[in-house]
Subunit: 211 residues, 2 copies
């Protein structure tokens, strides 16, 4: 099976959520231009993405929302086994993310949390037990965790990411400002400072484009 473009996957994730909202509102079909408007992108982009995943709409009625949501689910979520997630480093950011994930209705389920602070180990965070980082591999294997959210202090990022991959993690979402390199696992990084400085660069009177 051919891998879909990264940007298409990103949009599929967004499509699914706005489609779910529409479905909850009682809508059963949607036009490409309607979906496009909800996300402020072009209708062609929507049609192309939907074409790529092999869904086909009805002319004059648009796309069947329920089927489309189901198909996106088959692509993003694991069809066979569930995809279990762990948060490594349950500090300020880790806890904010944990609560956010628990309140969202993504299919990913948070199975474990890790920290090295004795005060946190053994505690429950939003219903999820915090394990000792020393037991990382054991728990990851036992709970069949494939995705890790890395929110430890920067100085530990490299070492712990390697241990995560060694334990069998297949993908890491890295929120530390340290650039990582993984062998044989998918890596996604997000850097807050970079985003803000990018806004700072473009949000200047001299860059008249947006003003």
């Amino acid at each position: 099976m051919k891998l879909l473009p990264e940007r298409t996957i990103e949009r599929l994730s967004k499509y699914r959520r706005v489609l779910q909202r529409e479905l909850d509102n009682g809508t059963d079909h949607i036009y490409s231009h309607e979906l496009a408007k909800l996300l402020h992108i072009t209708p062609v982009q929507v049609r192309r993405d939907i074409m790529l995943i092999g869904h086909t709409g009805t002319l004059r009625k648009g796309y069947g929302i329920e089927n489309l949501i189901k198909l996106i689910g088959e692509i993003i979520d694991c069809s066979s086994s569930e995809q279990n997630v762990a948060i490594i480093g349950i500090g300020k950011l880790g806890q904010a993310l944990l609560e956010y994930l628990n309140s969202s209705n993504t299919r990913l389920n948070l199975s474990a949390v890790f920290d090295n602070n004795p005060d946190k180990i053994g505690d429950s965070f939003g219903g999820t037990l915090c394990h000792n980082i020393d037991n990382l591999k054991k728990i990851i294997i036992r709970e069949n965790i494939t995705i890790g959210i890395l929110t430890v202090p920067p100085e530990y990022a490299k070492e712990i990411s390697a241990r995560m991959v060694d334990a069998g993690i297949l993908g890491i979402m890295n929120y530390t400002p340290v650039s990582l390199k993984l062998d044989h696992a998918f890596l996604e990084e997000y850097d807050v400072i970079t985003s803000l400085e990018k806004v700072a660069y473009f949000a200047k009177p001299r860059h008249a484009e947006f003003l």
Copy 2:
């Protein structure tokens, strides 16, 4: 003046921080392949970015770190006036970001925080006063704030972003999962769920590429 590519700006932000670390360690020059290695990108990419901003390295010695940092600063930071930032919605995420920004050494300075919760208004968050959202425009003008970090509940995102732009904000970093559209202001959006679902898609045994 020609606008630089978005991706180049993103990398410049990262270059600056690792360069600062190197400078603090006593290094005064760096080769493109060394800088590349620190960020896990290619040396060509580094050289191209540096070429685009008009810095020129010394053959056999590499790039002068101090000059390079200064030049990146002139590009990203506002040279004339300072760039002041506000956080709108000082909840879980807003507070985590605030502490993170305060502890980082970015040039952007956090000037104000806004909320609509009476318990928070008037309080200090990491040394920054929380204002009533009703005074948004007044304070933004008074403090000359040009950049806003939006972390309010999703249902308020659209309305408040419009008010921010109306108040004179030139760029918004939107962390709500609601897709926005601004008139005459730069917009950057980050969606946690999208990132995670992207990792979920690529972190599957069937996508052997990374395994």
